[in-house]
Amino acid sequence: MSLVGIAFMSVFGVNALLRYGAGICSASRGTTVPRGLAGSLAFLGSALAAGTLHGLLMRFALRPLGLETLDPFVFALVSSATGFALSLGASRLRGAFAARLAESFDRLAPSCAIYGIALAASGLARSGSAILAASFFGALGYLAASAILDSIRERLELERLPDAFKGAPAYFISAGLLALAFHGLESMLGPMFGGLR
């Protein structure tokens, strides 16, 4: 699968819509969409670290032993460890920005978004560098889609929709249409970027 494909998978497979569709999960730890420069940097850092570690563990330990079903458990350990290490590293730095960064690392550790990216990267990319690239582009795609979906949501609130379609149904349908556009983009650009394996 191409980098665009992985970005697509990470966006629509990892619950950007959890917050977008229901509008409630911004209150949940671990599903917070990263905000601001600190949040985005923390998200990119967490996705890169957890995605790469998870990919390598899958490639060298779980798959050869036939233990893929333990994947969620292994990810929980890996993401907690990387989240703790990154948060500890950021807390050593001084200043308000470093404090926001440390808090973001802590909040993002068990995120399903990061897991989706890690899962897509480890499943679809085989070599170490491809796993690293897939983790990075997955995170970037997620951030871009979150921004697009937020803009669509704001726009939808101004539209006069039938009562039955207001709120979640309109969000899901517009997200479906956006997913369709990503799907088309993936089919068009995918061959240009080539496979990652």
Binding site: R29, F172, A179
Partner: protein, 202 residues
């Protein structure tokens, strides 16, 4: 903000159930929905049952980690069961099964900090999980019918409607990932409309 969302903000199973995305994308047919919906319902129940114990038995800094690990173990256990019973299904769904588990992990981490979460609420969580499971089945069955013109029952080669399957399905898009969101959105709108018309008649 959606009033239903505000009312149910503290219900971890509801929060988990809202995480329909992996189920919505992955449930292309009824058997897929059975595996994915069951995974979320089972893991969400494990999360709801673990949160009160974690708060009582584990020291505060490790409560979230302990809950996440228990929920991850539940997700792995479900995946193991699916792999043992239906290896082909597991091959097809392993990505989505793992993702649904991670979704529950993240939301369990949210639930563990809910102060009013105790074991007396477990029956309510059981009902919510069951409703979610049924909703997932309805979604999978609708997508299968729209995309293939048939509904095949799990563990059987073909379903009761297989003979009447149409050559040119109505909506092939329903089988694609975007189709999951479209069917889900239209489904929610239809249920709302139905509830309103029943309310008017009553």
């Amino acid at each position: 903000m959606n009033p239903v969302a505000r009312r149910s903000r503290k219900d971890p199973v509801f929060l988990t159930a809202i995480g329909m995305a992996p189920v919505a994308i992955g449930s292309v047919c009824l058997s897929d929905a059975l595996a994915l919906g069951g995974s979320v319902a089972f893991t969400a129940l494990a999360a709801a049952a673990t949160a009160p114990f974690a708060r009582r038995l584990v020291v505060r800094p490790f409560q979230r980690l302990a809950t996440i690990l228990v929920v991850a173990a539940a997700a792995s256990l479900w995946a193991l069961g699916v792999r043992a019973l239906a290896p082909e299904l597991w091959d097809r769904l392993q990505f989505w099964l793992a993702l649904a588990g991670a979704n529950c992990m993240a939301l369990a981490a949210a639930g563990v900090s809910g102060e009013d979460e105790d074991l007396s609420r477990l029956p309510g969580r059981l009902v919510t999980s069951l409703l979610f499971f049924l909703a997932a089945l309805a979604l999978g069955a609708s997508r299968e019918f729209l995309s293939t013109g048939t509904i095949s029952l799990p563990f059987l080669p073909s379903g009761p409607l297989a003979e009447g399957a149409v050559d040119a399905p109505l909506l092939r898009i329903a089988a694609l990932p975007p189709g999951g969101f479209l069917v889900l959105g239209i489904g929610i709108a239809l249920v709302r409309r139905l509830k309103r018309s029943i309310g008017r008649k009553a």
